[in-house]
Symmetry: C2
Subunit: 357 residues, 2 copies
Amino acid sequence: MRWNDRRILDLFNIELPILQAPMAGASTPEMAVAVSEAGGLGSVPSAQYSAEQLREIMKDVRSRTRRPLNLNFFAHEMPNPDPARDMAWRARLASYYVEFGLDPAAPIPSTGRKPFDAAFCDVVEEFRPEVVSFHFGLPSDDLLDRVRNSGAKIISSATTVAEAVWLEERGVDAVIAMGYEAGGHRGNFLEMDMATQVGTMALVPQVVDATSIPVIAAGGIADGRGVAAALMLGAAAVQCGTAYLFSPEAKIPAVHRAALLDARDDNTAITNVFTGRPARGVVNRVMREVGPISDLAPPFPTAGSALAPLRMNREAAGSDDFTNLWSGQAARLAERLPARELTLALARGAQAALGRM
Amino acid sequence: MRWNDRRILDLFNIELPILQAPMAGASTPEMAVAVSEAGGLGSVPSAQYSAEQLREIMKDVRSRTRRPLNLNFFAHEMPNPDPARDMAWRARLASYYVEFGLDPAAPIPSTGRKPFDAAFCDVVEEFRPEVVSFHFGLPSDDLLDRVRNSGAKIISSATTVAEAVWLEERGVDAVIAMGYEAGGHRGNFLEMDMATQVGTMALVPQVVDATSIPVIAAGGIADGRGVAAALMLGAAAVQCGTAYLFSPEAKIPAVHRAALLDARDDNTAITNVFTGRPARGVVNRVMREVGPISDLAPPFPTAGSALAPLRMNREAAGSDDFTNLWSGQAARLAERLPARELTLALARGAQAALGRM
């Protein structure tokens, strides 16, 4: 397949302008290997692992493909402990604990997502992923320098032009323009107001105009038509997440898979109730009754802890009422294929759409 | 210029797949004439006119172009009088009246937008516009039959797949898939929850898949790249609004023009404070302090009456604090051209983007 815009292909040394979105908890090493072997860029999310776990994952992945890989990290700062706020959040959820026979006062283990740190950086230096991507901004300058010196190309997500310009000023090699349609955690880090987040169709060309680095379009792209449209907007590649959740390589609860199979264009919303940061998922009971945006939700990632017992209890009963059903607005467009075939189908679909004109 | 997908071109008998959005209050007969003469489809909004005023407008427009025209109407139902709710709304705004030396208890004239009715339908039958478009759904079956029997092609806006299917079932000839990015009043009529509205990138292909009529893409499209992207998504044409607000043919207050010149990707939001229905505009003081969405705002179009004295007072002082600054998320992309040149630039820009691939 021939691509006129080779900026991202040459930068990452890949064959297809398709990035698999790193989806902490849902992506698997198998998914990353399949996408990279197909010629796209497979991604390994790290925030759910310890550095030691990530080392084992990378050993495994590197043994199964010699193609370029993206290693993804979260760049948030861990909030200071705020027991009063945590208790207010548990109080908001207490009636659900009672409803399902759980003890609202029982200690709950902290479930969290770890930010990039020196220990993670050691893993980067050891395994030298070709691309390192960050979500929620960028880590401190010294850590960023270490990543850059490892030889990795660095990318991060922007949900506004201002965030894209901020990232370019700090030396990223490419920017992901993440539109309103995208599933999972939004990458926003300068702007916290969800009322002004920008749709992909408007965001991508404005980021292209405001920066001089290659732009990767994300949000609402789940088939070849979307890939072709993104290229028309000036993107050099796309990042797809939700479409890969239908692949057998995805590791998601049965209730999440069922919700995705039923997803419509208009039944997702951006919510902060699951983790404390805004993320798009299929609307369910806890989003309807507590959110979708709640001022009570403590900062990322601590909001998730108090939800965990409810989620486990309800999933065991076959209910998705308390599960984060991450999905973008274009789940319905996705061909339900293994990760390798999906990657090829996205690329071929784009070529077909481009060829029709 | 050659266009592979001729469905909308042949349906409306136009040369370019570009519709100028009807923008009640901002569009002018001059704008519609310029767009239609350029080969696109010019639109005349009607909701701000009486039937008699519209008759004069149509006489004028028809005398200046023989090209096809779109006559646009609102299809809302007028709400029953609800003095208690109106008073609660005036109470919410009373402190602003005091701040600017206005009498909060003075009678205020009702400023409104009139729905399509038999008198408007007489004008359609008299002037036989080639296209009649509706916003907020469709009028009653008997009126719709009269429009259809006049020979007009009928179109309306959908903000979700469900709305598009509803419109197709009622026999529209084409559907406008209006994404989240679009400026001005959203066309939503089945779904009132703004949290689940769909971005253009995700909406257009899902409407294409769910219907068998031609799809016109709207929302976030303000240059040739956006037009080309919409065609890739399967749209047969696009509708652009915000871009035309920069043309000399647009009739908008100076404060609105200034806000558009400063517009960024991330400083608009969807608000109901100006009219009672959700509409996207540049964020200003009343949106920040009262909205952007307020449960107190009475139903469309009555919310606007109590704002009118504040708007007039503040505009006279050069302030946009109480003015509805309608804009989509892509104002920044617009070339600032007269309506005829803009129409040609959108079409040529699309051809150039398509040609690059």
